[in-house]
Assembly symmetry: C2
Homo-oligomer: 239 residues x 2
């Protein structure tokens, strides 16, 4: 199991230490993260920069797509990722914030995450998007529980818009069927991805003022890993 004892930084800015990844767990009842919601500006800045980063990775992935159908699917996923980014920017502006200023503190950690999860080819890059977007949107939806109703409703609507998982599963599954060796490579890659993604999730949660070394968090991570396992199962891959 990954250790969640990440170092907390001072001003609510996530700081990440990268241990070795691991995985596998059993689903339990859904746990919300309302007690761990950071300040609205920190929440929005981090979520917006993560979507921006995922979007950029998808732009790069589209370039290496094996055929136009895959390329088009990748562009579609990039589009809904960008829509989420835009929705979060609009929310920052609605609160009177400056999106550039809000996103800036998260740049270093998220860029490092992107570098680690870039992938060697289209298959790895699209799996990275599927794993990271799935898990991180789940975290931000749970963290939204601690926002005021007004913000929460708009933000959850933004985060839950444009579900591309079925399209990714269809395209990746076909690729795996065509090349059985891909399955073991992607399963391995998936384990590294979930480790790195959970660390970003952990940083998002520990950006709150609440102590995040709390044992209340354990069931949340168990659930996040269970959801990840289901996503890998959908591809016929071992998590």
């Amino acid at each position: 199991m990954v250790s969640w004892k990440g170092r907390r930084s001072q001003r609510g800015v996530p700081s990440i230490q990268w241990p070795r990844p691991a995985s596998r767990a059993v689903p339990v009842n859904r746990v919300e993260l309302g007690d761990f919601t950071p300040d609205l500006d920190v929440y929005l800045g981090q979520a917006a920069y993560l979507e921006l980063s995922l979007f950029e990775g998808l732009g790069r992935a589209a370039e290496s797509a094996p055929h136009v159908r895959a390329q088009r699917m990748t562009a579609r996923v990039a589009g809904s990722t960008l829509d989420r980014h835009r929705g979060l920017l609009a929310e920052i502006e609605r609160t009177g914030g400056d999106p550039t200023v809000s996103m800036e503190p998260h740049r270093h950690a998220v860029d490092e995450f992107r570098r680690r999860t870039e992938g060697a080819d289209w298959h790895e890059a699209i799996l990275a998007s599927y794993v990271a977007a799935g898990l991180l949107n789940d975290v931000f939806v749970r963290l939204a529980a601690g926002l005021t109703a007004d913000h929460r409703e708009r933000i959850v609507r933004v985060l839950e818009a444009g579900d591309d998982e079925a399209a990714i599963v269809a395209e990746l599954s076909t690729a795996i069927e065509d090349d059985p060796q891909l399955a073991s490579r992607l399963a391995l890659w998936g384990r590294r991805l979930v480790g790195d993604t959970l660390l970003v999730a952990r940083a998002a949660i520990s950006a709150s003022h609440e102590s995040a070394d709390d044992e209340r968090l354990e069931p949340v991570f168990t659930e996040l890993v269970a959801a990840h396992t289901r996503r890998m199962d959908a591809l016929g891959l071992t998590a």
Copy 2:
């Protein structure tokens, strides 16, 4: 001056030969390209794939942006490029076409164009987007003159939505002021870009059944180069 004697391929699929670039011309009255409009499916497939390619290049460019403000601007331009791509895909679907099939014939030439115009850093990549999107959207708006009114109106609305030129000019101009050496490097890069972009424009025009070795085209290219010169002027760069 660039030679426009490109080789025409058989089935309306553009084929490009890459000579050396050149530039500079004087504006004349606006010339439309209605006589040279290719079949709707060829027109839409090529325009949609070009927007997709420009979008991918911007996703990559955003990754290398020097700061979050530039990154955000790049994402914004990527967003409106992707919106144009989506709008063109919607038009393909409206005509009962399959976007993947429509775009496929244009993949090779456009991918080659992207490879040639990728740029070594953010400044070159964003200039490439500015030059290529400016010139090619201009070409496709002119070519739209030969479509039926119904298609023309919707397509021109898609192509003319989301004007990001002012934002690009503001950001690139600041970068050039901060680093005067950038001006000569980007001016040189701009000359290569316009050569390559005009070849793509030429391919789009010669995809029509009409013979495109026509002298009627000369004023069009003169205008396209004049518009390019104005775009470079806006950056304080010699075209």
